[in-house]
């Protein structure tokens, strides 16, 4: 799909009168999509390091058999908080930050459609996470029942419980408002000529993601409210002795949880679909099929949830249905991967940092997809379930998947935002350390799971020692390599070679017609897309 623009140089009115206010007030009161995007991204980066430090503590404890650093109860708090912080604090806000920055720039809109709500949806997050992390200092510590909050175990949480529930509610409110904003912006503020089927893939994937968010965040809210009722108000939603059903929680949770998985990967697909054509200097292969594949994945995500719970003892018909529907997801996902490869095919490729991360994404996400396909096979899942094989699987799709796509996106668009080219040498070093680290970290976990190591255990039998050691070494390599990313981002914000408007030779799209750095207000006059 090729797009033709009538390049509209930003008029003098667009950049002249508009200066950001100074001081803290700018960030507290801002309704500017670029400022809010920056806030989201910085918050996400902070949470990435918080969640990462939990992960490093976990990996340090698992370096050797025996208990060395933490006790089992604290270990369970670490796994629980690591997941909650990484999912709701790092990955989701990073995508919302990229959406805030990029969607208006890519569709030729002056800002997000609902700027005040935009401010509010960000500023809820720091309070939500302050509440969540404060539980570590409560008597009895933080939540230790796993991020999935399965009752009855989750109901054994101490004083942390209502704090966690309220924090989850706040994150949900923030996500829903962010999603409403994305939908309102995309459906109402597109520049003349920017028809739906001309929208950049990143905008498309976010539009679909936003619908998923609106559909499932209330389901999570309902589930955790029922937990609250069970614990404090004598309800028995999930208590068999009171006529309830603990498995019902899992059904409700995963009805949220599976679409949630795609909420964390569809925007990644969008980013990769922007980057690969740029550096292959060739239009994206199969634009329309990419859109349809994204929509199919979103639809399927609502009818596969029980593959997370093959071992709870469903009737045979249920297990067959969820096995077949889960296997089906491989088809649209495969289409996406094939389209990316076809885009690279007979291109004229260069391998700048964003492209390196994008290529690693395609390969490593596909490996995560393969293990996902294996997990879909219910009889084999009876062996894989709740082992390190699953841990390896979802970390492959989330770390070299979602996280790599976020880093690729930041490296790709940062020169546009700041007006400075990134330090390419440092970027490549960061890439190579990350890609080696992440594989040393997660690949051996496949072996651990197949050999029989359950997940969420603080100590393990002796035959698992070697691969745990390797995994821990990889974790520290990967974790500390991220400091290079932090350094590179700060350096690019502060200084660096002046970036051109197009930044990358093959870059196509409205955002690249704007000056670098982008003025505080852009597209006050809508461009015309031909």
């Amino acid at each position: 799909m090729s797009m033709a623009y009538s390049p509209t140089a930003p008029g003098p009115d667009e950049s002249a009168h508009a200066r950001p206010p100074r001081g803290l007030g700018r960030w507290l009161l801002t309704t500017n999509h670029k400022d809010i995007g920056t806030l989201y991204l910085l918050f996400s980066l902070l949470m990435f390091f918080v969640g990462g430090s939990f992960a490093l503590l976990i990996r340090a404890e698992l370096f050797q058999p025996g208990l060395q650093l933490v006790n089992p109860h604290f270990f369970n708090q670490l796994t629980t908080l690591h997941a909650l912080v990484m999912i709701f604090g790092a990955v989701m806000p990073a995508f919302v930050g990229l959406a805030n920055w990029q969607i208006p720039l890519m569709i030729g809109a002056p800002d997000m459609a609902l700027p005040r709500m935009n401010n509010w949806s960000f500023w809820i997050l720091p309070f939500a996470f302050a509440l969540l992390l404060s539980t570590l200092f409560l008597p009895g510590g933080g939540p230790a029942g796993g991020w999935t909050l399965y009752p009855p175990l989750a109901l054994q949480t101490g004083e942390a419980f209502p704090f966690v529930i309220l924090a989850i509610h706040m994150m949900g409110v923030s996500s829903i408002m962010g999603a409403i904003n994305v939908i309102a912006t995309i459906l109402n503020l597109r520049a003349p000529g920017m028809t739906l089927m001309k929208m950049p893939l990143f905008v498309w994937t976010w539009l679909i993601t936003a619908f998923l968010l609106i559909a499932v965040m209330p389901v999570l809210a309902g589930a955790v409210t029922m937990l609250l009722a069970d614990k404090y108000f004598g309800a028995s939603f999930f208590n068999a002795a009171g006529g309830g059903d603990p498995v019902m929680f899992q059904h409700i949770f995963w009805f949220f949880g599976h679409p949630e998985v795609y909420i964390m990967i569809l925007p990644a697909f969008g980013i990769i679909s922007q980057i690969i054509p740029t550096f292959a200097r060739k239009p994206l292969f199969g634009y329309a099929s990419m859109v349809y594949a994204t929509a199919s994945i979103a639809f399927l995500s609502f009818i596969v949830w029980a593959h997370h719970m093959f071992t709870v003892g469903m009737p045979l018909a249920g297990e067959l249905f969820f096995m077949y529907s889960t296997m089906l997801i491989a088809v649209p996902t495969g289409v996406k991967v094939f389209n990316w490869v076809a885009t690279m095919w007979r291109g004229s490729m260069t391998f700048e940092t964003p492209m390196l991360f994008a290529i690693a994404f395609v390969i490593l996400f596909t490996i995560g997809g393969f293990s996902g396909l294996m997990l879909a096979i219910a009889p084999a899942d009876f062996q894989y379930h709740d082992t390190y094989f699953v841990v390896a699987h979802f970390h492959y799709v989330l770390v070299p998947g979602a996280v790599f796509s976020i880093m690729a996106g930041v490296y790709y668009w940062l020169p546009k935002w700041t007006g400075h080219r990134i330090n390419e040498r440092l970027g490549r070093l960061h890439f190579w350390l990350s890609v080696v680290g992440v594989n040393v970290l997660f690949f051996p976990q496949h072996f651990l799971g197949l050999a029989g190591m359950p997940r969420r255990i603080p100590d393990y039998a002796l035959q698992f020692t070697e691969f745990n050691m390797i995994s821990t070494l990889g974790a520290f390599l990967f974790g500390f390599s991220q400091l290079l990313f932090l350094y590179n981002v700060i350096q690019t914000i502060r200084s660096g070679e002046q970036a051109t408007d197009q930044v990358w030779e093959g870059a196509q799209g409205l955002e690249w017609t704007l000056p670098s750095p982008t003025p505080y207000h852009t597209f006050a006059t809508a461009p015309v897309v031909r």
């Binding site: 077949y324 885009t343 009889p379 062996q383």
Partner: protein, 270 residues
Amino acid sequence: MTGSRITRAGIALGSALAAGSARADFTVNMTPGVTAVSREVYDLHMLIFWICVAIGAVVFGVMLWSMVHHRKSRGAVAAQFHESTLVEVLWTVVPMLILVAMAVPATRTLIRMADARDADVTIKVTGYQWRWHYDYLNEGVGFFSTSATPQEQIRNAVAKDANYLLEVDRRLVVPVGKKIRILTTAADVIHSWWVPALGWKRDAIPGFINESWTLIEQPGVYRGQCAELCGRDHGFMPIVVEAVPEIEFQQWLARMKAQENKNSPTTGSG
């Protein structure tokens, strides 16, 4: 000890895919197990694995070829094609067919695993925080099975046994060659009963009873662990199954019954 382990970790990385290893219990793959079902599960696992390897080889091969030959520094000029209905249809339909080929044997195995009828022995497994209780239904025999790994080993005060964290005080004794029905439930929170050599795990859920079955072919000791997070000592509730010939099993059962009668004359099970 740590030093040699690190060395071995390095060797393990190198020989990860090699068949042999210095340790008998060191493995990189799923166990084929000791039942017909567990071997079917293993075969399914390997089938899907090799299908994934084949697809991966093709996809990554094309990518790699493209990355080597279609780079700007080699003077490659970008083609401008961007769609082809034929290939789009092909790479939608072909994966569908591959999926059907996987689904057929998977369905067969799943149906077989679901059929717990006509069992010779029925054992109720109840998960507790943090130990297992086994009841031989209709036999009046029941007992708790608790981790036997001493705290000193966990706290690194003394050397660890070969079966560190995988040893219990009382094993689940079962006969070989008999169909054993296993009912799982729990007393407090959800647990999951898993012995890899049997080829499956099943959640133990308070208030509900799940039904599974196994038929072990060879005598032996098979170890496993709780597989569902169940609180502080989730990592410390092992499972040890001892499969013995039918005659030995009957003798063991008789001994247990005599013991039960001596200990608690009024109730049948503990």
